[in-house]
């Protein structure tokens, strides 16, 4: 039996999604190969992208080694976002945590004004995550979309409970949507189908939720691997969207990440790298040193 290198070729292509406008824009997705499979037939025009997360309020439970890179700006989200640029980020992700009714229940107006200020202050595209409260987010994300009209932010999460209202605001004001479902491929496809009825699929980014290493990472990993494969190998239109892995919060709330810096960086770094290998197109991290570590690890090609 002769050996023939098992090179594969597929018919599906992940939609290329643009975030931001003009000079401040970024493309994700667009690949017709599995993650890092540059040896197969096809290509990935937009290799993995990285964002750092900024909170809209001073974090209270962060370990010192996570606060350290931003200690001087940690109470000022605008300065914090600007400082992220020192670490060669592709995007900044603003988490509107304070709007959560269970946290501070901060008003939507204030959150939207901050989002706009941050978006204008940085030279990279902005991702905005609401608190995840399905009711409050309708108000908050709609306001963000309206106030930042035309800036093409990546805004989410649009959930099965609120995708109509949230999706409409995102669409009306020229932004891109994060469609989020909890670790289930059927729910994921269902939401994309529903959203696509009125929302252009090439402006949807999938967030299938990404548990941290040791806390269910394998579920996120295998789901992402399947989503990517179903899209690329079987050309399922409703999974051919780029994937965002928002892992910073999940990783840094673990005891292991808080306990020791080195362990924390690896906790976040291994989670990130595993999900990149599974198919994430953009990763949101908290520690700039993790970003550097993951980037350097995958740089060799």
């Amino acid at each position: 039996m002769e050996y023939k290198a098992p090179v594969e070729a597929y018919t599906g292509v992940v939609r290329e999604v643009t975030i931001g406008k003009g000079k401040k824009s970024l493309k994700i997705g667009g690949e017709n190969i599995l993650p890092f499979h540059v040896f197969d037939q096809g290509s990935n025009p937009n290799p993995a992208k990285f964002a750092l997360e900024v909170l809209d309020m001073k974090p209270e439970d962060w370990p010192e080694h996570l606060v350290e890179p931003f200690w001087d700006v940690i109470s000022d989200p605008v300065k914090w976002a600007k400082k992220c640029q020192d670490f060669a980020v592709d995007a900044v992700s603003l988490f509107l945590m304070s709007t959560d009714p269970a946290v501070k229940n901060a008003p939507a107006d204030k959150a939207a004004a901050l989002a706009k200020e941050v978006a204008e202050a940085i030279n990279v595209p902005l991702i905005v995550y609401g608190s995840g409260d399905e009711k409050k987010d309708v108000e908050v994300l709609s306001k963000v979309a309206e106030l930042c009209d035309g800036m093409n932010l990546l805004i989410g999460p649009a959930l099965k409970e609120n995708y109509e209202a949230v999706g409409k605001a995102i669409l009306d004001h020229g932004h891109t949507a994060i469609a989020q479902t909890p670790l289930d491929i059927n729910l994921l496809k269902e939401l994309n189908v529903k959203l696509s009825k009125f929302f252009p699929p090439d402006r949807i980014v999938i967030d299938s939720l990404s548990p941290a290493l040791g806390y269910g990472m394998e579920y996120g990993f295998s789901l992402m691997e399947r989503v990517k494969q179903i899209g690329i190998m079987t050309k399922d239109s409703m999974t051919m969207m780029p994937i965002i892995a928002n892992i910073g919060g999940e990783c840094w709330k673990t005891k292991q990440a808080k306990e020791n810096k080195e362990q924390g960086l690896l906790w976040e770094g291994i989670t990130a790298l595993s999900l990149l290998l599974a198919g994430a197109n953009i990763i949101v991290l908290r520690h700039p040193e993790t970003l550097k570590l993951v980037r350097e690890t995958i740089k060799a090609r």
């Binding site: 269970a102 005891k255 790298l273 290998l277």
Partner: protein, 456 residues
């Protein structure tokens, strides 16, 4: 590529049922062979050629190789799928710690101590590294052999012996052959001389080629010589090459049924990344991308744990939800006034609840009810988390003896069991409906805890 029983039966003698194999007919025997439940040897009437062909056809597509002995044996290979969601990964890679014979005595002692002592309890299992890789680097054979003797004498672990000098390699093997060390590297340059020496005292063999294709003539030759405990190193120079090479080997073995590449692999982050966190990151890629043995230059407690947890995660069988044991768990140091929560025993549910509770810094009890590894809502729908069954569990788990109060927090998603549960607990407990999602625990728990304290 599995072969069907109906194909196998054509190769069997098909004489009048002799039943010498222990089965009533050749067909029954063939079916058993196909499912892996019988050995070809059981049929005494097969020609040598047919027997060899059958053994080959029935062999798993990736050979099972064992390094080390007894309770420290590391089994690798015998994998059936490329992606874990297709079925499951089976034999997790052995993590090896490299010791060079150039290391001074203190360093050697430290590493031996480290691999013995760094063990981590993690949800019911103990995580630890598995192997020592001994590296002939000094140029002095006596030094290398002294290292091998020392490690052999002071640990029970399996070993990888790394030496380009064949005399030193086989001399080292002779010291510890009963421990089934992996000999590395056998290459196209040394294979001719090596074959008789390998056969003299058979242990697993690691092959190195410059690229995947160079490995093929090597495995073919060794197999012809009767040496089949092989481990492959395609000589990948960086991470991207490594992903390509590991993918090609895995696909060739599983999708093409290409036997000459049907062996587990060995990877050397120790030579690719040279220390630090990056080396662990490279190693984690090999955990995901199918390596059988992963050799590290060094680690400490903080870098080893994340890698071992990742290995556990990736090698968890996705067909069976990971479940935790039914009992009450303590978060922090709870006392008789601490809150009591109840949830189902899907590991992910438990992790999320316990880490959310932990984040509040409020000591509490989490009663984990066996729901066959299902999440709360699914478990309720399947009748595994009904008010009656949760009530019975709360009564017998002993939590009533640990707290003075009688307030029980249930997940918001199963608010509807409140009445039935209170009934099942003879109205001795007040059931409080908690948040629907674990993210709500941060806001919910402090109020309850304060109230319970106030009662005391």
């Amino acid at each position: 590529m599995p072969i069907a029983g109906s194909e196998i039966v054509k190769m069997l003698p098909g004489r009048k049922p002799c039943k010498d194999c222990g089965f009533p007919t050749c067909f029954a025997f063939a079916m058993k062979l196909a499912s892996g439940g019988a050995s070809v040897d059981k049929c005494p009437y097969l020609s040598k050629e047919v027997k060899a062909k059958l053994v080959d056809l029935l062999a798993p597509p990736i050979k099972l190789v064992t390094i080390g002995s007894r309770e420290n044996a590391v089994k690798i290979g015998n994998e059936e799928v490329v992606y874990r969601h297709e079925k499951t990964f089976v034999h997790k890679p052995g993590i090896a710690l490299l010791i060079s014979d150039k290391d001074d005595n203190a360093k050697i002692e430290e590493k031996i101590k480290k691999i013995k002592e760094l063990q981590f309890p993690w949800v019911g299992v103990t995580l630890k590294a598995d192997l020592l890789a001994l590296y002939f680097e000094s140029g002095r054979k006596d030094k290398f052999l002294a290292l091998v003797k020392k490690v052999y004498g002071s640990t029970d672990l399996g070993m990888v012996l790394i030496s380009k000098d064949m005399d030193a390699l086989f001399a080292a093997r002779d010291i510890c052959a009963d421990r089934r060390p992996l000999l590395y590297p056998i290459t196209k340059e040394n294979i001719d001389k090596a074959i008789p020496k390998i056969k003299a005292n058979l242990t697993p063999v690691g092959l190195r080629g410059e690229g995947v294709e160079e490995l093929i003539p090597l495995t073919t030759r060794l197999k012809e010589a009767g040496i089949e405990g092989l481990v492959l190193d395609p000589g990948s120079k960086n991470l991207m090459e490594a992903i390509r090479d590991q993918t090609f080997i895995r696909r060739a073995a599983l999708k093409q049924g290409f036997k000459p590449l049907g062996y587990p692999t060995i990877a050397f982050p120790c030579f690719m990344a040279k220390g630090g966190l990056k080396e662990i990151m490279v190693a984690s890629t090999f955990v995901t991308k199918w390596a059988g043995v992963i050799v590290l230059s060094d680690f400490d407690q903080y870098s080893l744990l994340p890698l071992l947890v990742q290995r556990l995660n990736i090698y968890t069988d996705p067909r069976f939800p990971m479940a935790v044991q039914q009992k009450y768990y303590e978060v922090g140091e709870p006392d008789e006034h601490s809150p009591v929560l109840v949830t189902s025993n899907w590991a992910l549910t438990y992790f999320l609840v316990s880490s959310a509770v932990e984040a509040t810094k409020i000591p509490a009890y989490i009663c984990v009810k066996d729901a066959e590894g299902l999440g709360v809502l699914t478990a309720w729908a399947a009748g595994k988390f009904s008010g009656d069954s949760v009530g019975a569990f709360i009564k017998k788990c002993g939590i009533g003896d640990r707290v003075k109060h009688r307030k029980l927090i249930i997940p918001g998603k199963v608010a509807r069991i409140k009445g039935e549960l209170e009934e099942a607990l003879n109205r001795e407990w007040e059931v409080i409906v908690g948040p629907r999602e674990t993210t709500g625990i941060a806001a919910f728990l402090p109020g309850v805890a304060k109230e319970l304290k106030g009662l005391s």
